[in-house]
């Protein structure tokens, strides 16, 4: 012990490194507004931000920047929970925003603070099939035809996949003689035809379009349009089933962050204007179904009329999440040992 001289410089150096990491935050972040969103909205919000900022300046507002962060919806919610200073969140599922609210960062009544369940645009689940639809897939029961392989991401890791799953469930339920039991059987059969479970919607699109795996891809309507347009206009067709689910990707101001940064006003305006005509047109152009009836009418040929279930048919997200997707829930039971060949 005698040889040890407590030289403080060494320890100070370590402490200095700690302090440095603390300073990096705060400055500069003041000016910009951060929109934390999920993957398929990247193109839409890029267009919306430009339009929004132009309008803001026209009205004499001080210029600022809007930054975007994209990733899986659940991962983005976790990033906000863990301290990513997003002024607004625009996610795939209400349950992801509920998780942020449960930690006190967003007021619990967030979904009633904006119209239409705080979802300024909607989408639904459709089928993407090989060009010419060789397997003749038009409706949900066709997915169980012999030899049909279905591609969908994993509902445990993908918000879009949860909508896929619930749409399939809701369709089975409304068939003649449909019951909770028959719905569970249908969904189990469906997932047994899935050869690859990607972690997100984009991954599944790639598997289906570029790797040539499977006969039908269950996906967001907007993602199907994008895939058909960008990846394979000569390879795939979009099939809208007669019945699907109303997917409502919600938006919310992150109260905790805007209070700290003093950006509530901007954040609020940013979200409110999503409901106004220019943004609604942009949304429709990016293949999201607009809420505004006038804009919707203008794009009616793009979005065929479907009968739709919605999340309230499942008792809301927290009930659906717990019953179907939580550990030991129905989705896990599909993959019980011994039930697969």
């Amino acid at each position: 012990m005698a040889g040890f001289t407590p030289d403080r410089r060494g320890l100070l150096l370590g402490a200095g490194a700690l302090a440095l990491s603390g300073c990096a935050q705060g400055k500069g972040a003041q000016a910009a507004l951060l929109n934390v969103s999920y993957d398929p909205t990247r193109e839409f919000y890029r267009a919306y931000n430009t339009a929004f900022l132009a309008r803001w300046r026209e009205k004499g507002g001080a210029p600022f920047a809007v930054e975007q962060s994209h990733g899986g919806s659940g991962k983005q919610a976790r990033a906000v929970i863990d301290g990513l200073p997003g002024d607004v969140v625009t996610l795939a599922l209400a349950s992801d925003i509920d998780e942020i609210a449960a930690r006190g960062l967003i007021a619990a009544d967030w979904q009633t603070r904006l119209p239409d369940n705080a979802a300024p645009y909607t989408s639904t689940i459709v089928f993407l099939v090989r060009k010419g639809n060789p397997k003749g897939i038009h409706d949900w029961p066709d997915l169980l035809k012999p030899g049909v392989e279905v591609i969908t991401p994993n509902p445990k890791t993908s918000g879009g996949a949860r909508w896929n799953y619930l749409a399939a469930w809701a369709d089975a339920l409304r068939r003649p003689g449909g019951s909770e039991q028959s719905a569970q059987t249908y969904v189990s059969e469906l997932f047994r035809r899935v050869p690859v479970l990607d972690t997100g919607a984009r991954g599944s699109t790639t598997t289906f379009v570029q790797r040539g795996i499977g006969d039908v891809l269950l996906t967001w309507e907007n993602e199907a349009f994008l895939a058909a347009k960008e990846l394979g206009p000569d390879k795939v067709d979009i099939v809208s089933p007669p019945f699907s689910i109303l997917a409502e990707p919600p938006v919310a101001v992150v109260d905790h962050v805007v209070e700290r940064k003093g950006t509530r006003d901007r954040a609020q305006t940013y979200l409110t204007q999503l409901y106004e005509e220019p943004a609604q047109v942009l949304a429709a152009e990016h293949f999201y179904r607009p809420r505004d009836p006038a804009v919707a009418a203008r794009f009616a040929d793009r979005f065929p009329h479907l009968t739709m279930a919605d999340i309230s048919n499942f008792g809301g997200w927290s009930v659906a999440q717990k019953r179907h997707f939580a550990d030991g829930g129905v989705f896990d039971q599909i993959y019980q040992p011994g039930r697969r060949s």
Partner: protein
């Protein structure tokens, strides 16, 4: 009698306390504190819950796949990486410098990019997968694909571990062995292998550890089917997607304990070999 604790290194260079202070602070910041945070989480719901999560059929299948695939990949890398290192140190050929530089690319490439590239190659409509599909061999979206991805990310570890040892190896010893009548095989197993064995083992250990923890490149090629081609790191992500931090930390902790035990065994083996050699 116990040995006295010596706090000052027997080095003529000054700055021991500075470097010790820095080491401790740095290690704490980047290794010890994050690992402690991980180690605290799993016990939130008690030991029973920890065991229930870890021993569920799905977790067991995922852990088995991650560890077995990583072991297979490490063994393949040991053989092929050893060969590569040998060729690169002992022979001159055009493009050698380039080949040597290419070895490190798996270190630099984002793993997701590697995964997408490998999947494109080995999928049933890819250039390699397309050739194998007619003979009934499927690589992408099977456990074999997992091994392929792990071979890719682990290769540089083996090559870079044994390359310097091979370079320093005195070729006169090999010549002497040959003069004394040793066959090439005897020279390889009695002279060269013992010399590079500690380095080779450390390379295998690193490649194995990398494979076990690998996520980005594997999820694209694995197919991610529960009980069949689902790796343990994906289960961790799945738990996180459900905001189940404790569950995620539980599987992470199980992986950490397993890896630690295996690497500890490896270190022991290396030590034993080093002592025998000395």
């Amino acid at each position: 009698m116990t040995r006295p604790v010596i706090w000052k290194a027997p080095s003529p260079l000054p700055g021991f306390s500075l470097s010790l202070g820095f080491t401790v602070a740095y290690m704490s910041l980047f290794v010890l504190i994050p690992l402690t945070a991980l180690a605290i989480r799993p016990w939130e719901n008690g030991l029973d819950n920890f065991l229930a999560v870890v021993t569920s059929p799905r977790a067991l299948a995922a852990l088995r796949l991650s560890f077995v695939a990583a072991a297979v990949a490490a063994v393949v890398n040991a053989v092929m990486g050893g060969l590569l290192a040998w060729v690169l140190t002992r022979y001159e050929f055009p493009g050698k410098r380039l080949a040597d530089a290419v070895i490190d690319l798996p270190f630099a490439l984002p793993t997701a990019v590697a995964g997408i590239a490998l999947t494109a190659l080995y999928a049933q409509n890819g250039p390699i997968g397309g050739l194998l599909a007619p003979v009934g061999i499927k690589i992408a979206y099977t456990p074999v694909g997992v091994v392929v991805a792990m071979i890719f990310v682990g290769l540089p570890f083996v090559v870079r571990s044994i390359q310097p040892v091979l370079q320093d190896l005195d070729q006169e010893v090999e010549a002497a062995a040959e003069t004394l009548g040793a066959s090439p095989l005897q020279t390889a197993t009695r002279i060269i292998l013992p010399a590079i064995l500690p380095a080779l083992l450390s390379g295998i250990g690193l490649a194995f550890a990398r494979g076990v923890g690998e996520y980005g490149s594997v999820i694209f090629i694995a197919g991610n089917m529960p009980l069949r081609s689902e790796i343990a790191p994906l289960l961790i992500v799945t738990q996180l997607e459900q905001f189940d931090y404790a569950g995620a930390a539980t599987i992470g902790m199980a992986m950490l304990i397993l890896s630690f035990l295996i690497l500890l065994g490896f270190n022991g083996l290396q030590g034993a070999i080093a002592r025998r050699g000395a």
